[in-house]
């Protein structure tokens, strides 16, 4: 599975490829089932809610809330502490990510966040930043 998301192939139609190609273009798209109307994540060839197979792709609103969060503690010489969290998007799907632009320990459950395309492990990835109040 890992190699699929690493190498988006132009014009390829697999769900991982569609999602990754959009990220490479700086866009976040989410799969939605045409039959039941529910979004899902991760990308797949069927809807996990109603098991329909008519899946279409839609730009994500980018609006989300931190569902839960942790600080991975790491010695400074190995890169220091960092955040890992699960965000629930307005579309009702959840994804693992991290919130940037704020100390990892200051990220709290229910915090409003906005998605952007950043970089993780040298590849385009969905990241979040706190919503400015």
């Amino acid at each position: 599975m890992d190699h699929l998301r690493r190498m988006p192939v132009p014009d390829a139609t697999g769900p991982d490829q569609i999602f990754q190609r959009a990220l490479t273009n700086g866009e976040i798209v989410l799969p939605r089932c045409d039959d039941c109307g529910a979004y899902h994540f991760f990308p797949r060839v069927l809807c996990p809610h109603c098991h329909g197979t008519a899946i279409s792709w839609h730009p994500a609103s980018g609006k989300g809330r931190v569902h839960t969060t942790t600080v991975v503690r790491q010695k400074p010489e190995r890169g220091g502490d960092y955040n890992v969290c699960v965000v629930e998007l307005e579309e009702g799907v959840r994804m693992m990510s991290r919130v940037e632009g704020i100390a990892p320990g200051d990220i709290v459950i229910d915090m409003a966040v906005t998605a952007f395309v950043g970089e993780a492990e040298g590849q385009p990835a969905v990241l979040f930043k706190p919503v400015e109040v």
Partner: protein, 383 residues
């Protein structure tokens, strides 16, 4: 397992090997020593085994490797990998295989040398593709996020989490087989190195070597063995997700379903259980499983474990060997919940032996709160 299988199979031997550090031994060596110990306990030989139930962290065909290593050619084999719950899960498949006549002597076996081989928890698989880029430290990050959510929703405190570790240590202090037996206070747990907020290193299980094995036969033969048989009264599994980001409710595990069905199959309820052996890889696990298995209401697990209530002399004996937190945790702990439950019923528990145990519960957890398997074990009196 349905009521059709209630009491149809029995554990007639348990064994273990390599607890703590098994220097110079491979994981399969520890597995084999465990098998011999359990068969010896049952008065059987390896050549009697015709059903093998095994998985390991080592490679992709561990049951085949185990059979080859042991020099046996089983006619029934099950290597279903549901993480640390696998071995509790095998109680069901072994019962079905025995009852169906597919084998006569079932050996459930596991071994690991992960402490001396690597010194850290080894996971059998890499994080899934949509989680890996964020570098979660598995499995700790997953359990830390479940703990954070439980604290957020129910006001569970770090002190209550710490009390789970303190209780486990209190049991372990009486168990000569336990790896960690030194004193441990709530302050020690809270003041220990934070590894994944809100969990400190003392909220996390041990990393040890160790193996375990269980021998099972059909109930009609079970009284012909040296030790008192321990009957499988009910067992059930439920799988809810693989990736922690896909867990629907971080505060409710599929133990709610596995537990309800295991209790229904056994025809008993939580208040009947005299010894509770849970998969305590992290302190939050014990709280979640006590709630989901019905020993207390959802959200009340923190208060339930507070101040020694699951420690020796408390209201409910939980993880009477010291658990994965203080006794042994070689990567997959599930088989040790069954072994301790069986020994409490037989009356030969290595640490504190509870009085007249007829009913005990063993609960396995696999993945990142993903696979839940519950078994209810009982003495002859419960048939």
């Amino acid at each position: 397992m349905t009521t059709k299988l209630r009491g149809k199979s029995a554990i007639v031997g348990t064994g273990h090997a390599g607890f703590g550090e098994a220097h110079g031994l491979t994981a399969y060596d520890v597995m084999a020593q465990s098998a011999l110990a359990a068969l010896g306990d049952a008065g059987l030989k390896l050549s009697d085994v015709d059903g093998l139930f095994c998985t390991m962290m080592e490679d992709s065909m561990p049951a085949l490797m185990a059979a080859e290593y042991l020099g046996i050619q089983p006619r029934f084999i099950d290597g279903t990998m549901t993480g640390g719950s696998s071995f509790v899960n095998y109680l069901t498949s072994a019962t079905m295989a025995l009852e169906g006549g597919l084998c006569d002597v079932a050996l459930i076996v596991y071994g690991s040398n992960q402490r001396t081989a690597s010194g850290r928890l080894v996971t059998a698989s890499r994080p899934p593709a949509y989680e890996a880029p964020y570098n979660p430290r598995y499995p700790i990050s997953a359990y830390a996020m479940a703990a954070a959510r439980h604290m957020h929703e129910f006001g569970t405190t770090r002190e209550q989490l710490a009390d789970v570790a303190v209780a486990a240590r209190a049991w372990a202090q009486h168990n000569p087989e336990a790896f960690e037996r030194g004193p441990l206070s709530r302050e020690d747990v809270l003041g220990a190195r934070m590894v994944g907020d809100p969990l400190t290193v003392r909220d996390c299980c041990l990393v040890t070597d160790g193996g375990g094995a269980i021998v099972m036969v059909r109930a009609d033969r079970a009284r012909d063995f040296p030790k008192a048989p321990v009957y499988v009264l009910g067992s059930a599994a439920e799988s809810s997700h693989r990736q922690i980001s896909q867990m629907k409710d971080f505060t409710v595990t599929a133990a709610r379903e596995s537990g309800a069905r295991a209790f229904a199959a056994a025809g008993v309820s939580p208040s009947d259980i005299q010894a509770v052996e849970l998969y305590d890889a992290f302190t939050i696990n014990t709280i979640l499983f006590l709630e989901d298995l019905g020993f207390c209401a959802k959200g009340e697990g923190g208060a339930f474990v507070e101040g020694g209530r699951i420690a020796p002399g408390g209201v409910l004996p939980v993880n009477t060997n010291g658990g994965g937190l203080s006794c042994v945790h070689p990567g997959m702990y599930g088989i040790f919940t069954v072994i301790e439950a069986a020994r409490q019923i037989r009356g030969d528990a290595p640490g504190i032996q509870l009085k007249d145990v007829d009913l005990a519960l063993a609960h396995g957890n696999g993945g990142v709160l993903s696979s839940q398997v519950t078994a209810i074990l009982g003495s002859q009196n419960t048939l």
